[in-house]
């Protein structure tokens, strides 16, 4: 140490704190590696942020609610400030939720922020998942992260459901009864499962306390862990980007985490919080005072779950009430089949990435996001799945469709029964056609330029529309995608007439591959030669 103390000015406080922390936590290397981490910029890449922030908002407001909520089914008499329920017998859970809504300062607002944020969280995850799906961002190396995201969505559904059940109001009680019915329909073990879950006959005195632990501890704990893992993987894989000049599969073009994204993300958190708070301040959600306390002998029309469970409601509403009675036992197919289809609907979209990678046989990494039109079969599959989901949502709200559009509920139910099978197929065909049409338009634009709308009359009288050529960047964007060749199984018999063994699975794969990439299933993108030929002046009108 040859430096004299007076020559060395004391470091600023921030640096000293950082030094202190580095000595103990090693943050310098961590920060060096990550602070300048580059993220690409696109509004659709912020959908995941909406989910994360609404999840944080849910946790914050949820903590506040736990301070006042009593997860108990002990019977009490209401004497709070809401007159139309005074003197009613109800569970302590309902009573404390009434107390939060009417007698805790800010309680109703916090409750409504919590519930609205939950609906928006799930909706955000749905849209985020679809963004990842349609841009092919689930491809290697991100398949595991896709599954993490999917699990977050499913766990979010059940966290939402258990939370919706906690106030023990007539609506949520009906929902829990619905769930109990579904469990009872499981052959052989249904009754045991139900008794185990409810600690005896429904509703018993246990389920609110049990759902409470699941809702505030078990599921959110797992979700928090999964979310952190999800984010670590996003860091590790780096974010996908859309094709463009200078963007390759090996780089990320964008802005650094610090300072740009830290500021943007921090600001965006407050914007999300603000929007959700405004929604919660404007619109009522789950008005339990109007719904009343749960009593198993009461039920109301229009009893639906929150939207993310709506498709299960649709399944059960449109399913014919089949049942088989054998040897004194009843197999309630009318409930059991929907219970089986429920996870299948979700699994269909979850396993798709693995099916696609099996069909393409592509083991390379992909960091450039696809434009949906350039993967027509995948896009068509996604739209078909969404259509399927929406058809079930219509089924789940069939009574409201009937009253609001003056239709017969029976007709809607039959529509949903048929559309359940037909609508996804129609959506698939239509979407694929639209994608191919858009591909053709892109090819046309690359080769002939953009229609300018300027009509020119030639000396000999012919009218032509002037096409403005695209700049090189735009042409690159439209032609950056790669096009697969359909997988061939090759000749099944070699030149010596010896038959080769081809498994049916391989044949299926070749067939599917042809459906994806065969002739007529993708429009060949313009080649440089084609472009040269046209722009060289020959043959151009």
């Amino acid at each position: 140490m040859s430096t004299t103390t007076d020559a060395r000015r004391e470091a600023p406080a921030g640096e000293r704190i950082a030094d202190w922390a580095d000595g103990r936590l090693g943050i310098y290397s961590l920060a060096k590696a990550n602070m300048r981490k580059i993220f690409p910029d696109h509004w659709s890449f912020m959908l995941g942020e909406i989910c994360m922030y609404s999840f944080i908002i849910i946790i914050l407001t949820g903590v506040y609610l736990t301070l006042f909520f009593h997860p108990s089914m002990n019977e009490v008499v209401y004497d709070g400030s809401y007159v139309p329920l005074q003197g009613m017998h109800m569970s302590e859970a309902f009573n404390s939720t009434m107390h939060i809504s009417f007698d805790v300062r800010g309680g109703l607002l916090i409750r409504q922020i919590h519930h609205w944020a939950a609906l928006i969280f799930l909706a955000g995850m749905f849209v985020h998942m679809m963004r990842v799906f349609f841009t092919g961002a689930f491809r290697k190396p991100r398949e595991v992260n896709w599954l993490f995201g999917f699990l977050l969505f499913v766990l979010g559904m059940f966290t939402g459901f258990t939370g919706y059940s906690l106030p023990d109001d007539l609506l949520s009680g009906t929902g829990v009864r619905f769930m109990e019915g579904a469990i009872l329909s499981v052959p052989i073990v249904g009754t045991y499962l139900s008794f185990f879950l409810f600690g005896g006959e429904f509703p018993g005195g246990d389920f609110v306390a049990r759902f409470y632990s699941v809702h505030i501890l078990l599921l959110p704990g797992i979700m928090l862990g999964l979310m952190v893992a999800h984010l670590i993987l996003v860091f590790y894989h780096k974010h996908t980007q859309f094709a463009g000049p200078g963007r390759t599969n090996k780089n990320v073009v964008g802005m650094p985490l610090l300072p740009v994204y830290m500021a943007k993300a921090g600001g965006f958190f407050f914007l999300v919080f603000g929007v959700i708070a405004v929604v919660a301040a404007i619109a009522s959600i789950n008005p339990i005072w109007a719904i009343g306390p749960y009593r198993p002998d009461q039920v109301s029309t229009g009893a639906q779950p929150d939207w993310y469970m709506g498709f299960s409601e649709g399944l059960i509403r449109v399913m014919p009430g089949w049942e088989i009675n054998l040897w004194g036992h009843t197999l309630v197919l009318g409930v059991f089949i929907p219970l089986v289809i429920f996870p299948l609907v979700l699994a269909t979209i979850a396993v798709y990435p693995f099916i696609e990678s099996w069909i393409t046989g592509d083991k390379r990494e992909h960091h450039i996001a696809d434009r949906p039109r350039n993967a027509p079969t995948r896009t068509a599959f996604g739209v078909a799945w969404i259509t399927w989901y929406l058809v079930l949502l219509i089924g789940g709200g069939n009574d409201l469709w009937a009253t609001h559009f003056h239709l017969s509920i029976n007709v809607i139910t039959w529509f949903v029964r048929i559309a359940f099978f037909v609508a996804p197929v129609l959506a698939f065909i239509a979407t694929k056609r639209i994608c191919l049409g858009l591909q053709r338009r892109d090819a046309e634009k690359v080769l002939h330029g953009r229609e300018s709308g300027i009509i020119k009359r030639l000396p000999h009288g012919e009218f032509i529309e002037i096409h403005e050529p695209l700049d090189a960047g735009a042409r690159y964007k439209l032609t950056a995608h790669e096009q697969y060749k359909p997988a061939e199984i090759g000749p099944e018999v070699d030149e010596n007439g010896v038959a080769r063994k081809v498994s049916p699975l391989q044949k299926l794969r070749a067939k599917l591959s042809k459906g994806y990439y065969g002739e007529g299933n993708q429009i060949p993108k313009p080649t440089a030669e084609e472009y040269q030929e046209i722009t060289s002046g020959h043959g151009h009108h």
């Binding site: 910029d41 696109h42 509004w43 912020m46 959908l47 139309p84 005074q86 003197g87 009613m88 809504s101 009417f102 109703l108 409504q112 609205w116 609906l119 928006i120 909706a123 955000g124 849209v127 007539l170 609506l171 073009v253 964008g254 802005m255 740009v260 943007k264 965006f268 914007l271 929007v275 959700i276 929604v279 301040a281 404007i282 619109a283 009522s284 959600i285 789950n286 008005p287 109007a290 719904i291 009343g292 009593r295 002998d297 109301s300 029309t301 229009g302 639906q304 929150d306 939207w307 709506g310 789940g396 709200g397 069939n398 009574d399 409201l400 009937a402 009253t403 017969s408 509920i409 007709v411």
Partner: protein, 269 residues
């Protein structure tokens, strides 16, 4: 008796008997005959029935038959009572505009006196519930909480938690009860119009009906408060989900697009 027996041949005996007989007849008549006022009402009543019959012949007979016996287009009105007429015509449901799954509420065609005349005529066809009086349906002093419980037990299955209405089979529906006149709610419970079951006083006493009316007034009228903000139709999670998607997530995506559009542009240099 001897005295009476001795005088029975008296020349004035016949006169006395006659007088006694007259007095007895008159007394009995005075005792058993309807009061004078009632007698006047009877006249008004028969007048009302006559007028009602005329109105009925014009407006109702094509479906319900010339004598209220019913046809293939409309049910018999014998025994439905004045309350049913007051409800159906007083809410504009009758006369029906067109056949269908259910006759909806619409503009009231008849004036209240005309409705009363129609009601009098239909009531004259057979005994049925009469139009309730104000003291019967007036909900003041009724137990709102009890009414809520009764409503959830007996009505919410079709009319929803707070009476926003709901769907029934094949295009039929339970209408919204928002701002329905207490008298009409009472009559509907009493008579069970269209697809609704009836709740006569034997199954649901007058007091309970008043409780239900008071509850509906508290939760589903222009004076009922919505502490949480917009009610979104009071229809539960479906309208909430729609609102959350459009105005919640929709607004957030709009904000995301705005944030993404206002960014530090990466410059090549």
């Amino acid at each position: 008796m001897k005295k009476l027996s001795a005088r029975r041949r008296h020349p004035l005996a016949a006169v006395v008997v006659l007088l006694l007989a007259l007095a007895a007849t008159g007394g009995l008549y005075a005792a058993f005959a309807p009061a004078g006022k009632a007698q006047a009402d009877e006249t008004a009543q028969s007048l009302a029935i006559d007028e009602g019959k005329k109105l009925y012949s014009v407006g109702c007979a094509s479906c319900h038959g010339t004598g209220g016996q019913g046809t293939s287009d409309g049910p018999s009105l014998v025994g439905v009572g004045a309350a049913a007429v007051d409800f159906q015509v007083g809410t504009g449901r009758m006369p029906a505009q067109q056949p269908g799954a259910q006759v909806p509420k619409k503009k009231v065609i008849y004036s209240q006196p005309e409705i009363d005349q129609l009601a009098a005529y239909v009531a004259s066809l057979g005994a049925g519930p009469s139009v309730p009086t104000d003291s019967q349906y007036n909900p003041s002093g009724a137990d709102i909480a009890k009414g809520g419980e009764l409503f959830r037990t007996n009505c919410a299955q079709c009319h929803n938690f707070t009476g926003e209405g709901g769907a029934l089979t094949n295009g039929k529906f339970a209408p919204s009860l928002e701002d329905v006149d207490p008298k009409h709610i009472y009559e509907a419970m009493q008579t069970g119009p269209q697809n609704m079951p009836s709740f006569p006083d034997t199954t649901m006493p007058q007091k309970q009906k008043q409780d239900i009316i008071a509850y509906l007034h508290a939760v589903n009228s222009d004076q009922s408060a919505s502490p949480g903000g917009l009610k979104l139709g009071g229809l539960g999670p479906v309208s909430e989900g729609l609102f959350g998607w459009i105005f919640g997530l929709g607004a957030l995506i709009a904000v995301a697009i705005w944030v993404a559009a206002h960014t530090a542009k990466a410059k090549k240099s």
